[in-house]
Symmetry: C2
Subunit: 596 residues, 2 copies
């Protein structure tokens, strides 16, 4: 049977040792969120994830969602789990207290998200999308709309969706056709078809409120002519109950590779009544302001899956007896040794571990920056943190979902043939995780965002928020003998990143295709260097504690050993990435299209 235990110890390490998370409570608005509050919040989250959401993960995958007569049914147990989730206050955790939220910092919400994704990614889609709706409406809605809808969204009685994609446009939203026609009462009539609408229809909440991108009559072509509308499934009555049925209905649900318990809907809007959110023709801007956090959220999906796949791989590797250690039998009294003795199995487990914990550190860093960017009293600090979030967002999204997929596949590989069998649960993680590399902007789009928008922004101002601390760390620690084995490989890889950055920037100015051709490898190079920096810092913190009474369970010992493995066995990939980047894009762009 699959298992999941929330990695609270490591989350605390990231928040309170690596990131000095006590600084969070020093931010205005977060005063309550001291460690004394955060710890029990994480523990409660762990409990509902382990005990309520996780047991529904496999059955949800087997059963999937069904559509009958316009009604989408979620798998058995989902409604009860959602009720517990809602009653536990988890839909309101990171929401504005003005609308009934608990106002938790992003860093807390991020780790709660990781647990939800690890326990049941499909389930997490429902509150996840609803939170996206919350953020967009909170940032861009007028007071009337916010007062009418946000409290119900925050307390989870209602849920929200984001309706962007249409059949002929996903990445290129400028092509969208859904129309909005002004009505005499100040509302709009919305008509069009949206696809890939997660949680577009389901049976968990009494009402579903859609945010829909559409075009006003005579709107400019392309993305400059897109507006955002709020379209409820049931029009609310004056006393706030779901009233008359609106012209927004599910047309069909998709049959997918994974996240089968998450309903992915084709939504038909047929003269549905809606209200403008924000300014006319500024819909894309409204989307963009919330996209960073949505992308970080998808990154957490990769991380959550990686964690649970790793845990199960470790358990299997300890349990499965097969062959003998190459250096001689380790458990001669048993018919064979557990496969964890085999070097190649250990290599797989350590790879999974190093990526997973490294990504957790990166996620913590990004989430803390979000909090600082919003709440720090010093505007300079706010801008700096905001710059860092902008820079690191595509890396978090693409790196963490790519590595999450890699770790999920390691999870299968450790199981051997049994990994391919559904009942063991490992193959589901591969299927579920696969979507995270595709949606919220494919990982190729993230890479283009990094090299095209983020790298050159404000003459490299975003870049400096990463390059400066890493450079400072290297300079300060270079002579530290005990840290040498961590700092030296970091320094070497960092030079590669600096040179690649200069080269890609230089070439991209003359030929944008050159930046595009380098983008994916550049993002990976950047991400691996970021993890190296975080592993080196983790080693710095952990080294003095190894072998002391501060390390009764070997947590710090394992940190140092994993950091070492990362530096020796994974970071060297940066040399090949560097060479591929420096080779340039000619071989890619010169290839004749007809020759593919």
């Amino acid at each position: 049977m699959p298992l999941y235990k929330a990695p609270l110890r490591d989350m605390r390490f990231v928040m309170f040792e690596l990131m000095q998370g006590d600084e969070i409570a020093a931010l205005p608005g977060y005063e309550e969120f001291t460690r004394d509050l955060i710890d029990p919040v994480l523990e409660e989250a762990a409990k509902i994830c382990e005990e309520v959401l996780f047991p529904l993960n496999r059955s949800g995958d087997e059963e999937g969602c069904t559509l009958e007569n316009g009604v989408v049914r979620t798998p058995k147990g989902f409604k009860q789990a959602y009720d517990l989730f809602r009653e536990g206050g988890w839909t309101s955790l990171a929401c504005d207290p003005a609308y009934g939220g608990q106002g938790a910092p992003s860093v807390v919400n991020t780790f709660v998200s990781e647990m939800i994704c690890a326990a049941n990614l499909s389930f997490g889609m429902y509150p996840g999308l609803s939170h996206g709706f919350y953020k967009a409406l909170h940032a861009h809605g007028n007071e009337a709309l916010k007062a009418e809808y946000l409290p119900k969204i925050v307390d989870g009685t209602w849920s929200g969706t984001m309706c962007l994609t249409e059949p002929h446009c996903g990445t290129d939203l400028g092509l969208l056709k859904t129309s909005a026609t002004p009505q005499d009462d100040g509302s709009y009539s919305i008509t069009g078809t949206k696809i890939f609408i997660s949680a577009g229809e389901h049976d968990l909440t009494e009402n579903i409120i859609h945010l829909v991108l559409a075009r006003l009559p005579g709107a400019p072509k392309g993305t400059a002519g897109i507006s955002l509308f709020l379209v409820p499934k049931f029009l609310p009555t004056e006393d706030g109950r779901p009233g008359q049925r609106n012209g927004a209905a599910v047309g069909s649900i998709e049959h997918k590779m994974g996240i089968k318990a998450s309903s992915t809907c084709v939504m038909n809007f047929d003269g549905a009544k809606g209200w403008l959110v924000g300014e006319a023709n500024k819909g894309m801007r409204a989307m963009f302001t919330m996209m960073n956090e949505a992308r970080l959220g998808v990154g957490m999906q990769g991380l959550g899956i990686a964690e649970v796949a790793y845990q199960n791989a470790v358990a299997y590797a300890r349990d499965r007896l097969q062959g003998r250690a190459l250096s001689g039998a380790k458990q001669p009294e048993k018919p064979a040794d557990p496969i964890v003795v085999h070097p190649d199995v250990r290599r797989m487990l350590l790879t999974a571990r190093a990526y997973t914990q490294g990504c957790r550190a990166l996620a913590g860093w990004a989430a803390q920056a979000i909090d600082v960017s919003k709440h720090h009293p010093d505007p300079v600090k706010r801008v700096e943190a905001d710059d860092f979030v902008a820079l690191v967002t595509p890396i978090v999204k693409a790196l963490m979902t790519d590595l999450g997929f890699e770790v999920a596949n390691i999870g299968v590989q450790v199981y051997g043939g049994h990994g391919f069998i559904r009942e063991h649960g490992q193959e589901q993680y591969v299927r579920d995780c696969r979507i995270a590399q595709l949606y919220e902007g494919t990982n190729g789009i993230q890479a283009l965002d990094l090299v095209g928008r983020k790298m050159g922004a404000h003459a490299g101002r975003y870049l400096r928020t990463f390059f400066h601390p890493v450079s400072d760390f290297i300079q300060t620690k270079m002579e530290d003998e005990a840290l040498g084995e961590f700092v030296q490989p970091l320094a070497k890889a960092f030079v590669r990143l600096q040179q690649a950055t200069a080269e890609v920037a230089r070439r991209g100015l003359a030929r944008p295709d050159e930046a595009g051709a380098a983008a994916t490898e550049y993002l990976r190079l950047f991400g691996l260097v970021a993890l190296a920096y975080l592993w080196a810092r983790s080693a710095e913190i952990s080294l003095p504690k190894v072998g002391t009474d501060q390390d009764p369970d070997g947590f710090y010992r394992a940190k140092v050993a994993t950091a070492r493995f990362y530096m020796e066995r994974l970071l060297p990939q940066t040399s090949g990435l560097f060479a591929a980047i420096m080779a340039g894009g000619k071989s890619i762009m010169a290839f004749e299209e007809a020759d593919f």
Copy 2:
């Protein structure tokens, strides 16, 4: 709708230009197999694969196999397709004419296999396993058994299976428990449970014959006490019809990630009547003699999936309009450019192409060596070819399935969110392909085979069959200016491989764990260098033809351009692999087991 067109042009390039396949017809026993015969055989194979097997691939995945009252039903259309397949002579293609086979060379059979795997991997499992049975019985059975069973297996009226794995043992067959008790009539009574038995039960043939590994009473422990038995589902009557039901029955079928139309059975043998194949206690040896070809066959599964995923990705990239080329609109009359204009999409397609065609060349090389090893009149040539097959087998199996999986995932990624939707067919390739990295020895086991058994065998004799031709090629072509861009990167990567080989061999002698810890990266390094050699040779052949009337459709132009991409953008991975190998296994083996 998914598409598949057999890549006959590239297969001919590999067989008749890269490998000088005319030499095959010069081998005794293969005189018939001149290009005049091989071409139409491949064309006929393409036809049945494209027109009969491929249209059942998606429906087979959706429907899967069902078990009811001990009967396994294959998906709709499979039986009719199998009848056509059998009547077309495809089960007998590579079989001994003495038993009704057509005696085709391995190189022909290999490319036919690729097409079958590309068109319908699940379907291919049935004749594939049967061919494994054929080979084992042909090599090890006595004349009576061969005369009784082989003609029916060869003509496809009956099918065969290989029953090795048990619940507690897969890799470690020494642990198996199934028992064989001698009977007065010279037969044996077989009792035990086998799992993961592909084609163990189905409705395609009138009888199913199992080859079962089991222990005789008092047999030595471990692999030295395993014997091989033939156990029919129906005991044949004297006139060769299926007679009395034997005690071999399907217990359940597995629910799997992919290859859902292939029945994967738990087989219960309950006092089933069987006959010894080969010598008592020599069952493992019988298995090993056929394992090379089975592993090459699994490699072809990776290749077949890669090809079909690539083809569909290309078609989608040409068709899907999204965004504008970074260098300015390419099709300004359309609402957007096709995504094939985007550098990152081209990078993905070229990666898929370079791996796929490179693997096809490697497969052709290995298959031709099999033919030479069996049919060459010069025993020195036979041994040399056999050495090469032994060396390259784990590489073909692991590299081609790992890269096949990577390409299948590229196939999904090019589709964006649509890749996750089942109806487009791309996600099925990811699921189907995943098994190939696991069965017939996980890819980690292949890597151990390479470093543990093959590398040091006969003082490096196997290695020389690869190192010498590559080294000769580099020395001969080093000064060739036109080839420099291909030969120089090959030479650099080859030096890495030579140094890594020496280092792994040296360390492995003292500490076997060190070889184990390097194995996976070493196999990948080896495989990438092998592809580099084949790409350099492909470029050498193609360069003089580019721009001449020998290249009306740009085939050679594309070869050269793909070779260039491979050298510039993919081969650099070898530097990171080299560094990881040279770092050694200490960080892997020193990690405390309790700390995972």
